[in-house]
């Protein structure tokens, strides 16, 4: 192999790795990291308790009920925010999803939907701090992932497709969602602690 071929191969390998391989692997690692977390959330703890043939601790059951209620309330807040948006605006927002800036606020993603603080910040940065009551809406949001809905809301704000009044309502909704998640975090941490202690007792530690 002559030097020209060697240098060409080196260039191609470098470009292939840093242009394609490395970003792909990093995406995969980040994805696994977000999936691999093991919070004592309502989903995995409920499964464990139903597998347990013994009596369910009343306090734990109460915590799990509260977690379920909080999760439903979060969904309802998202429904209320999405109800403000007309179909046409959603289509425009979806078209502008690629223009969104990368997330800036790091939160504990075991408990917090990472796009909520992004939404809060973006509403305030675009429309300033103005809040207005957000109507109660029972029931889940339209079909789709929660992150998709929040992405649409972010895009609406980023492209200034909301009226000042709707922006103020969405800011209120994002505050509410985050407060609900903060409550959920407190309960989940307590739940995890309780379960860890229970496991330790079972193992005789």
């Amino acid at each position: 192999m002559n030097m020209k071929v060697r240098l060409t191969l080196a260039s191609l390998s470098g470009m292939l790795w840093f242009g394609y391989g490395s970003p792909k692997v990093m995406d995969y690692i980040q994805q696994q990291r977000s999936l691999g977390v093991d919070a004592a959330s309502v989903d995995n703890v409920q499964d464990r308790l139903t597998e347990d043939t013994g009596d369910v601790d009343e306090e734990l059951a109460e915590m799990i009920n509260t977690l379920s209620e909080l999760k439903v309330k979060e969904e309802e807040r998202l429904s209320a925010m999405m109800a403000l948006v007309e179909r046409g605006a959603i289509t425009a927002a979806q078209a502008g999803l690629n223009d969104l800036p990368p997330p800036r606020y790091r939160m504990d993603h075991r408990f917090f939907e990472p796009l909520v603080p992004e939404l809060t910040a973006m509403v305030m940065e675009t429309y300033g701090y103005a809040v207005a009551p957000l109507a109660e809406i029972a029931g889940p949001p339209p079909p789709g992932e929660r992150s998709d809905h929040l992405g649409i809301l972010l895009s609406l704000v980023h492209h200034r497709l909301l009226s000042d009044e709707h922006a103020a309502q969405i800011l209120q909704g994002s505050f509410d969602m985050n407060a609900l998640q903060a409550k959920r975090m407190a309960i989940e941490i307590a739940l995890r602690k309780a379960i860890t202690e229970e496991d330790n007792e079972d193992s005789g530690l």
């Binding site: 030097m3 390998s13 470098g14 490395s22 690692i29 910040a121 940065e125 701090y129």
Partner: protein, 718 residues
């Protein structure tokens, strides 16, 4: 050196006023340089000082490596300003790192251009840059490592006593500059010997291998001799890390242990609860936190955080090109690079850089674990990511060999242009690639004028509030730095990361109710109880001045997030200090100094918080997300009876006093008062309401632009 200037730009443009530096090492190093300058001027060589950690004292050997700082001390002693000295040392460290690697490359190839490739590859790694940003100048001064590799190559090629002497001297001199690098040089040398032995293979006893056999023997001899020469210093420098506790998978994977250690590391665990065992756990877990993650290696971006740093994409690309260009001539260096990379991963594979390891990872200990637990002294290298400097050395050597091969092939036309391009590309990396850390703000190293006034006051030791037992905030680190201006001894120390020193500090402060109350005063709620006799006792020990701050530098840097909250004293703390010491002797609006001789001499007791906290919609956001106000927009704060409003406020965008107002509505009268704002700083706000009835308080934006700001500890005093 011009490359180093470009690399560290814009620091050279503001060389006398600003530094690259985080909350810990840079300020501590500044203090040490100044202190050594004083020692040189007064020819005082006692190892103990009571300038910090007064009256307990601190042993300067605990800093471990002080040779570079001693050079800085000499520069200060001849009149070069402290901050200029520090910054010049940093430029010098990057420049000499390049020169050291150039010498290695030149020795390997007899080509200056190839030497330049090695120099650029080594000196422009994210690792060196990140250490420069963190203020670890002794780690940036890494040129001795490739220079040592150069002496090994020379010794192996022609083993004579002169070359033996150079190799020994080079290794022996690394120690006083940096003990880590002494160990790493040893690892590099052993890797080099292993490579030679493998290459000789069964021919070891053959007469044709005589030169190599002699080279290997002399190399090992030089290792031993350098070790012997360093022995007296090693015994003293061991104070830096007196003993390293064992590491375990359980320690690195337990969320409970992590939470406990985190609480100690951020100084929020009550000081009386610290024990030798828990502090050793804190030491042990550093091994995990300081290990390179697989993600960082794969990403290899140009970053500002040393813990995520690697040799970087440029060095890897240079290595790759050389591997293709020079083939098996690079294999030996490649093997050393791969070995050191594996060691830099630490005791267990951390794929994503998670703070706690998952259970799968803990089943498979890596070679570092074995080395840490079994090889004497290896545990001193308890920050595995730093082993990447060996990788950089090897990649630089490969770079020179590859460049020489390419240049000699005649394929590369006008080689000087290509090498110049590489130089520009390498040294300009902080400004265009990765996190572009060169675009981030520098730290202001100017010392507040009140310390000049404090210097002129009568002798007496100083206590800066709040006291912290861990290096958690910029303000805490600066309390040691500003000692270089006022020159009074201080109780505060940024050096309590060594557990024996911390336990001495713990015993001292917990024996006095005033000092015990001062520890973490910002984050500790009442009751506060200070016995009259304890204040008197402090005076008898030589303490005189107490300093507290109404303006605190913001702290939002990459390493561990914003910890300035730990320095923000609340209304109950201010009330305590006023009750203890009466009127301050100095108050410039930003800082306050009390004289202990003016203490009321009575027992002080604040049973409960004097203020009611105000809750905000953003309180539930753990990451301090800023509030944003347009001109005329307002945030309702409080409605009820209040005599005073207090808070800490920090503008995030450029702002000045007048951009944010406190709106007070009572009895149909509306008033607006300006809040003092200073960009890059937290400011304490304490505004009397002067109203008898029901009052409504809100914040109103009055700036022309959107105002981004943070508000913490907002409260009213009923």
């Amino acid at each position: 050196m011009l490359g180093a200037v470009l690399f560290l730009w814009p620091m050279p443009a503001e060389i006398s006023e600003k530094i690259w530096g985080d909350r810990f090492d840079a300020w501590t190093t500044l203090w040490l340089i100044e202190h050594l300058g004083d020692r040189i001027s007064t020819w005082n060589w006692t190892p103990e000082t009571t300038e910090i950690l007064y009256p307990l004292g601190y042993n300067l050997w605990s800093f471990g490596h002080i040779a570079l700082q001693m050079i800085g001390g000499a520069m200060v002693a001849i009149g070069i300003p402290l901050v200029v000295t520090y910054n010049l040392l940093l430029i010098f460290a990057i420049g000499t790192s390049g020169l050291g690697a150039h010498a290695l490359g030149r020795e390997l190839t007899q080509s200056h251009l190839a030497g330049v490739v090695a120099g650029v590859t080594f000196a422009t790694t994210p690792y060196l840059y990140a250490e420069a940003r963190a203020g670890c100048i002794e780690l940036v001064f890494a040129g001795l490592l490739p220079l040592y590799a150069c002496t090994l190559v020379r010794l192996m090629r022609k083993p004579d006593w002169r070359r033996f002497g150079w190799a020994t001297a080079c290794l022996a001199i690394i120690g006083p500059f940096n003990w880590y690098y002494t160990l790493f040089a040893g690892v590099l040398a052993l890797g080099f010997v292993a490579w030679q032995l493998i290459e000789i293979g069964p021919q070891f006893r053959h007469p044709s291998s005589a030169t190599r056999r002699r080279g290997i023997g002399m190399l090992l001899g030089s290792l031993v001799l350098a070790g012997v020469l360093n022995t007296p210093l090693i015994l003293e420098a061991r104070r830096e890390t007196p003993s390293r506790p064992s590491i375990s998978a359980e320690l690195f994977s337990s969320a409970t242990i992590f939470d406990e250690i985190q609480a100690i590391s951020d100084g929020s665990t009550p000081i009386e609860e610290l024990t030798e065992d828990t502090l050793k756990q804190v030491d042990a877990i550093q091994v995990h936190f300081n290990s390179t993650s697989l993600g960082s290696l794969i990403d290899a971006r140009f970053v500002a955080n040393p813990l995520n740093s690697t040799p970087g994409r440029l060095a890897y690309l240079v290595g790759l090109f050389s591997l293709f260009a020079a083939g098996r001539r690079t294999w030996g260096w490649l093997a050393i690079a791969v070995g050191a990379t594996v060691l830099s991963l630490g005791p267990y594979l951390n794929v994503s850089g998670a703070l706690t390891l998952n259970s799968e990872a803990t089943h498979w200990p890596l070679p570092y674990y074995w080395a840490h637990e079994n090889i004497p002294f290896f545990s001193k290298a308890y920050r595995p990511y730093r082993l990447s400097v060996i990788v950089s050395t090897s990649l630089a050597a490969m770079g020179a060999i590859g460049a020489a091969a390419a240049l000699r092939s005649g394929v590369v036309r006008v080689p000087a242009v290509w090498v110049t391009l590489l130089v520009v590309l390498g040294f300009s990396q902080p400004h265009w690639t990765g996190e572009k850390p060169g675009n981030q703000p520098l730290a202001d190293a100017r010392i507040e004028p009140i310390y000049t006034v404090l210097a002129a006051l009568e002798p007496g030791a100083v206590i800066e509030l709040p006291l912290h037992y861990q290096p958690i905030s910029t303000a805490n680190a600066r309390s040691q730095y500003v000692q270089t201006k006022h020159k009074h001894p201080i109780l505060n120390s940024n050096q309590l990361i060594r557990w024996p020193d911390l336990l001495r500090f713990q015993e001292f402060v917990t024996s006095n109710s005033a000092l015990h109350t001062f520890v973490n005063l910002s984050r500790t709620k009442p009751p506060y109880v200070v016995d009259a006799g304890d204040i008197t006792a402090l005076g008898e020990l030589g303490f005189r001045w107490v300093v507290a701050h109404k303006q605190v530098p913001a702290d939002a840097i990459e390493l561990t997030g914003d910890m300035a909250h730990a320095d923000l004293l609340g209304p109950s703390a201010w009330a305590l200090l006023e009750q203890m010491f009466g009127a301050p002797v100095l108050d410039d609006g930003n800082s306050v100094v009390w004289d202990m001789h003016e203490a009321t001499g009575e027992r002080i007791e604040i049973k409960a918080s004097i203020a009611e906290p105000i809750s905000l919609d953003l309180d539930s956001f753990p990451d301090n997300l800023p509030l944003v106000l347009k001109n005329g927009q307002k945030i309702p704060l409080f409605e009820g009876h209040a005599t005073r409003f207090t808070a800490w406020v920090k503008p995030i965008t450029e702002a000045s006093t007048g951009d944010l107002h406190l709106r007070i509505e009572d009895d149909g009268v509306v008033r607006e008062l300006e809040l003092p704002l200073l960009s890059g700083h937290w400011r304490y706000v304490s505004i009397p309401i002067e109203s008898q009835g029901n009052t409504r308080l809100s914040l109103v934006g009055r700036g022309e632009k959107l105002l981004h700001f943070e508000l913490v500890a907002a409260s009213v005093i009923p």
